[in-house]
Structure formats: C-alpha cells, structure tokens
Amino acid sequence: MIVIITSLDGGVGKTTLTAAMAYHAAVNKRQPVLLIDADWEKAELSQLLRAEYAPGWLSPFLRGEEPAVYKIRDGLFLIPGYDAAEAYQLYDFSIAELERALETWVENMPAFAASRGLPPAVIIDTTPTLRLSFLTRLKERGVKTIFIADVRAVSRVSDIKAEQYAAYFKLADAVVVNNTSFFTRNTAPYTIRRISTPKDLHWEAVAKNILRNRHNKKTIEALLDKVYPTSLLGPT
C-alpha cells in the first residue's frame, strides 16, 4: 500500500509529517515502513534522516543503477532522493518525465519491495504542487493521498487559492492542517498543533516532539488507520 504526502504550498510540513508517521508506525507500532524521498526540489527527507549520498529513486532511470535502500533503524527504510534533486537542478527534465518515473515506481513497487524483502507499506514524500492530473493517475493506481496545508488553506487568501485548495482537497484521502489555530481546530478533519522545534534537528527528535503532544499523536494514529488497512498497520 502506497501513501503519498503532498501539498499545494511549500514549507507546510510534508517531510515532518512523513517522519512522524514513519516513526509512529515503525517504532511505536512496530510496523515496518519504506520511505521514498521523491521531493525532487530539495531531497529534504534524506537529509533529515541523515542518509548518505547514494543512488536514489531516480537512479534506475538516470544511470541504470539499482537504487540504494538505507536501513534507518529496525523496520524503517529509505530510498534517498539526492540524485533526483541534483538532476532537477542540472538537467532540463520536463515535470512529465519525473512524474512518469515516479509512476513507474508505483507500478513496480509491489514486485520491488517483495523481491528485496522490503515492507509493503510505503510513504512517499514529495515536492509541493504536484499536478492534479498526476495525482489523479496515482489515485487510479490505488495510491492514497495525504494532503497537508497550513492555515492558508482555510483563511481564503483569494478565490483562486480557495479553488486550488478545493481541487486538491477533493482528490485527497486525508487533509491535514498544520500549525492549527483555534479557528482551524474545528474545521479541518486532521490537525497538527504547533510544537517547539527541538534543538537537534534530527528526525527522531522532531518526530518524538510531535508525538509527545496527545492531540498530534491521535492525529498521526488516525491518519495511519485511515490510509493503511489494518492488515498492514494494525494496532499492536
């Protein structure tokens, strides 16, 4: 089962949410997870998880290389995104090509994971503003979409923005609003409350800090229950 974390705006917490979900699944629930850093703009998840530079998810298409799979800790694996971020800066790829590569991953993921002994539960962190047409194709392939936004999603900056959000909301299996204000708590289905930033920006410290908040832990648990069937990520 593949879950994609996406957003309309940048910096809303896709990578942080990915880390928190992965930590809760792998550490607290002891359910293994494979992460793919498909943020081809920044590869921030790979950095947050302190993965070394190595061939990532785009490498099979770029250089015909087997991608690296990092064991971050027991039950948690990562396919990094450094080479995709590098290629995005260096070469004239069309977005359609990168989308096609990611779609090929989705198509081949069950066979890839099974043949390499990797978990079937996959979370893909992405770049902001993935095209709706692409997300629709992924949805048709059975990918679950978690859309994350901050208060801009409910503050109606403009009619155009509101329409854009509405289109993404419609596609999403779950909508998360980050840094919730009092106003958003009752309007968004899943909310993450602001937490203090840990001094050590290590993923485990960040994830633990989020999950220490009872409301946030409840949100993360509900999200995992929503996107993964109980057979994959059931309560332990």
Binding site: E52, Y53, A54, L58, L62, R63, A68, L90, F93
Partner: protein
Amino acid sequence: MILNFKKGTQILGKKIADLDTGEPTQPAAQPAALQPTPALATSASAHAFEAPQPGASAPSEDWGELLVRLLASAPEDVAQKLVGCLDKEVLIKVLERWSNPYLKVALMLITKT
C-alpha cells in the same frame, strides 16, 4: 540527459537474486557502503571517510576501501609518503569505484595532469 524508462522499469522489476548473480547494472562496482542494496546501508553522517559505519554490511576486507580509509586517517606526512609509493593508476582505480560528484571532478583533475 534523458531518463531511460525501459532500463528503469527493468531494474525495478528485477529480482534481487538477479542482481546478486551477475547482470551488473553499472559498469564499475562501488564499495558496498555507497552502493547499498536492501538493508545494506545504515544511516550515518554525510562524511564517507569517517570510521566504518556500525551495522553497515560493507565487506571490511575490501582492500580499496581499507586503503582509502588508511590514507585518510594517517598523519599527512605518512599519507603523502604512502601515496608516493603507490602506483597512480591503482589509486585512480580505487577512487573511480566511488560514486561521488566531487570525486569525479577530482579524478578529472588528477588524470588531466
């Protein structure tokens, strides 16, 4: 640069056994620490030449890796002497096995002179 979807799909669909028993997907073998297949690599700091990563299943017997680690950790004057004793081609071959853009540029500079 064009993405090769045929090759990419082949690799993703390839069984790990195929990868182990030949059919190399890349021309030069890299040290396992930088060429991890499932669950081979552990997350670690970004510095590739620091002490061997605990838990990484990179074969510690790999002479090329050991040589590089030795040269990187030895006092500079000793390292210089050792490098002076070694065949340049051997060192270049060892360095060529690492997939790192900085090393690639460094190799270009070394081989140019």
